[in-house]
Amino acid sequence: MKKHYFWVGLLSISILVFFSCKNTNDVSSNESNTTNENTKVTPNIFQVSISGMTYMPDTVTATIGDTVIFTNNDIVPHNVTEINNHWASPTLNPGDTWKTVVDSSSDYYCSLHLVMKGRISAK
């Protein structure tokens, strides 16, 4: 009978040790994922206000993948047009916003007011 208790006890301990090790592995795996996610670079968001017939700021230095949001805070419509027409916003009426994801350095202007200019400088 004593022998029987011994084997049951040993089996129980083995099961406990097994699950204990498994849980430990799971936790370390989760921690590892969390660490990887934390090290991922979150894209930045830059705001450009169109006001007083200027883009403010007129130069944004961003990383590829970042987002630039343009908001027309002026009293007249504007747009944001890449100088070689690679991309362009629609007409932005006062209060409108439009965003673009940075994929390269770009000079842009307002095709409605040709003297209004800005730049996105990609790092």
Partner: protein
Amino acid sequence: MKTLKTTLLTFAIILFSIFNSNSANAQEKPQLTDPEIASVAVTANQIDVDYAAIAIKKSSNKDIINFAKTMQTDHLAVIGMATKLAEKLHVTPKSNAVTQSLLDGAKKMKSDLNSKSGKAFNKAYIDNEVAYHKSVIQAVETILIPQTKNSELKDLLIKVLPSLKVHLEHALMVQKNFK
């Protein structure tokens, strides 16, 4: 061509004499009330909208048409804001000597523009836009803003000033193609 030059010159002289800030005697400047300033502001904007309509109808040059469309959009936006504000403030724009002079000058200019076509029209239109914006900027800076009593009307005029200056720069840029 001679007629146009004469008209441009006359119009410039009218505006200069109305708005000139360099006058030694400040008393020569027109003294305007807020309702009169509202009238001058709306009229000056409407005149440029009218010039733009003529350009869009008569010109086939894309730079001229682009500029004229922008003038139409921007000046109509300002008229809309001024009208809304006047309603809010219960101010009725009041016609006055400056408004009348502007309208008289514009009548002559529109007649001249309508008598032109092709390159001559494009040059006349853009030359006038340069002269007109220079005069209006001076008027807004030296007469309309300083004489406005109501702070909201004054703020609107201050907000409009950058757009007038950008219009002038844009007009000067287009004008280079028609020298």
